[in-house]
């Protein structure tokens, strides 16, 4: 699919409108590029950010360049407010397929463009998952202790959301866009907390035993699976996201870790060392029908389902390195996605299933990276302190 980027027109001839227009163009272009779903053709004089003087769209010229759709943006700054307008046109018919205007506070400038990019994705490809407004939660020690942070999918607007003095670990963003589950060290225990990011309300989901950690949501947001030592050994449990219905589902003297819910909610993949070494297994969500999934390598860990449930990424130790692999559950085909650059860990899928976020210490410190689901286009999103355990969620 070929998409043409028209000029971003300035609705006023002042400096702050120019700055806004520049951001609009950059965000739009990098969103569409990131998706890998479009061939992008830029207008000849897009750098000029011309002042708008009425409609002047050269549909014939775009048609000659074999462009299917064009995007036309307008921008204006008015004090602390901005107005961003986006239109998506069908080049063949000249029809307006989608038009939106956002008159928002200036701090939401990037969000307005992400919003319109979501609209483009929906109209052109029918993709309803709002990828460009999705968020990534992660832990960082940039301010001292490990705390939970949130950022836009493209690494912008990194902000801290927890304020505990000891340690906050393993964030899992809920599909409702409102809740996040994580482990926090309280006294002599690591307890599992459900935190409402808007109201600040906290619910303790599990605080028995010394360890309650590694939470993962079911796709419908109704349930959370996690590990706990509440019965002595680290076992896998499930609980409703309102804190009721706690259920133990593994009963094994071995290590059980890293549970991940399949998108259908019927299965849970996890790691166990019941064979002597950590390997990945899958079971029904009730804990029955346990099967081993990985048979090569001495150390396979941290499974994560693709949103359509067809694939699983995991981490394998290869010599002194840890790399991320992708297993096709149908064909059993395995692809290595990272290449021998120290530790690459904690892979999690993007909501649209086309990208993968992970952490790596390839530069010396742990940072969050994003890559396409085939391992291409690896790019670093964090730079301060150590950043680990990303969780990617589309927020409505």
């Amino acid at each position: 699919m070929v998409i043409g980027l028209e000029n971003v027109y300035r609705m006023a001839d002042d400096e702050s409108t120019r700055e806004i227009a520049e951001v609009v163009y950059d965000v739009l272009k990098s969103d569409l590029k990131f998706s890998r779903l479009f061939n992008i053709v830029e207008s000849k004089n897009y750098m000029e950010l011309p002042v708008y003087r009425g409609e002047d769209v050269d549909l014939i010229g775009w048609k000659q360049k074999k462009v299917d759709f064009i995007v036309l943006m307008k921008a204006m700054a008015q004090g602390s407010e901005i107005t961003v307008e986006g239109r998506l046109l069908d080049v063949r018919t000249g029809d307006l397929l989608r038009g939106k205007r956002y008159s928002w506070d200036k701090k939401y400038l990037r969000q307005t463009v992400h919003r319109f990019a979501n609209e483009i994705l929906e109209v052109t490809w029918g993709i309803k998952v709002p990828l460009f407004t999705s968020k990534i939660a992660f832990t960082s020690d940039r301010d001292g202790n490990k705390e939970i942070y949130l950022m836009d999918y493209d690494g912008y607007d990194q902000r801290r959301i927890t304020d505990n003095s000891i340690l906050d670990l393993f964030p899992a963003l809920g599909p409702d866009g409102e809740h996040i589950v994580f482990s926090t060290v309280r006294g002599t225990k690591a307890v599992l907390l459900l935190y409402n990011m808007f109201t600040g309300e906290k619910i303790t989901l599990s605080d028995a035993g010394g360890l309650n950690a590694l939470p993962a949501w079911s796709l419908d947001g109704q349930k959370i699976t996690f590990i706990s030592s509440r019965d002595g050994n680290s076992e896998i449990y499930t609980i409703n996201s309102d804190g009721t219905g706690l259920k133990r589902i593994t009963f094994s003297p071995s290590i059980e870790a890293s549970p991940a819910w399949s998108p259908t909610g019927r299965q849970i993949a996890f790691t166990s060392d019941r064979s002597g070494r950590p390997q990945i297994y899958i079971m029904d969500a009730e804990g029955t029908n346990i099967r081993r999934l990985t048979f090569f390598g001495e150390y396979n860990e941290s499974p994560a389902f693709s949103p359509d449930g067809s694939m699983l990424t995991f981490v394998q130790r290869t010599g002194i390195n840890f790399d991320i692999y992708r297993l096709d559950l149908q064909s059993q085909e395995i692809i290595k996605l990272t290449e021998n650059q120290r530790s690459n860990e904690s892979s999690r899928w993007s909501p649209d299933g086309l990208h993968i976020v992970f952490s790596s210490n390839r530069t010396g410190s742990y940072q969050i990276y994003v890559m396409d689901s085939d391992g291409l286009n690896q790019r670093q999103l964090t730079f301060k302190g150590n950043n680990t355990n990303p969780s990617w969620q589309a927020l409505q």
Binding site: V185, L211, S234
Partner: protein
């Protein structure tokens, strides 16, 4: 004294008798000189003041948890393992001995891992290291209610290097006194 008096009495009786019997001219009886009490030139020495020596119990009562923590020896593990190594048994015996001596002490055993491995799995592995150390103490007769366990996985390294010099120090069960 009494003996002396008796003696004097006897002597007197004897003399009186002999005078009476022999009828000798009356002579003034000569009394023996009174016995002189000997006073030796020694000084009375009082017992030395006793130093206030603290009992073990008193010492224990005055130490803080940090000092109690230092009485414990940590247990170290092999890479990716959580079984108690033979060379670590002496450390656990030391710890059990201390716990047996001071029954009021309660401890937290923290499980730790080196940076290798995922930090998810290391959370579970650290827990196993902590529980392996705890189970050994239980086998030595320590009451389970006195021991809590937590895992810090690879989150709280003791040494921050990126080689075995640091890694071996980070694969451990670390003992912390939490009550006494």
């Amino acid at each position: 004294m009494k003996a002396n008096r008796m003696l004097i009495l006897l002597v007197c009786l004897f003399l009186a008798c002999s005078f009476a019997c022999k009828k000798k001219p009356p002579v003034e009886p000569v009394q023996p000189p009174p016995p002189i009490e000997k006073v030796e030139p020694v000084e009375e020495v009082s017992a030395p003041p006793e130093e206030r020596i603290l009992t073990e119990e008193q010492i224990f009562a005055s130490t803080d948890l940090e000092a109690v923590t230092k009485e414990f020896k940590d247990v170290f593990y092999d890479f990716d393992k959580y079984n108690v190594r033979e060379d670590q048994v002496a450390n656990l015996e030391n710890d059990a001995q201390y716990l047996n001596k001071w029954k009021s002490v309660r401890i937290l055993i923290e499980g730790h891992c080196d940076e290798r491995g995922t930090n998810e799995y290391n959370m579970a592995l650290g827990l196993r290291r902590a529980t392996a150390a705890r189970d050994y103490l239980l086998s030595l007769g320590i009451d389970a209610s006195r021991i809590e366990t937590i895992s810090y996985g690879e989150e709280r390294p003791f040494a921050t290097g990126h080689d075995e010099d640091s890694w071996w120090q980070n694969r451990r069960a670390h003992f912390v006194a939490i009550a006494k």
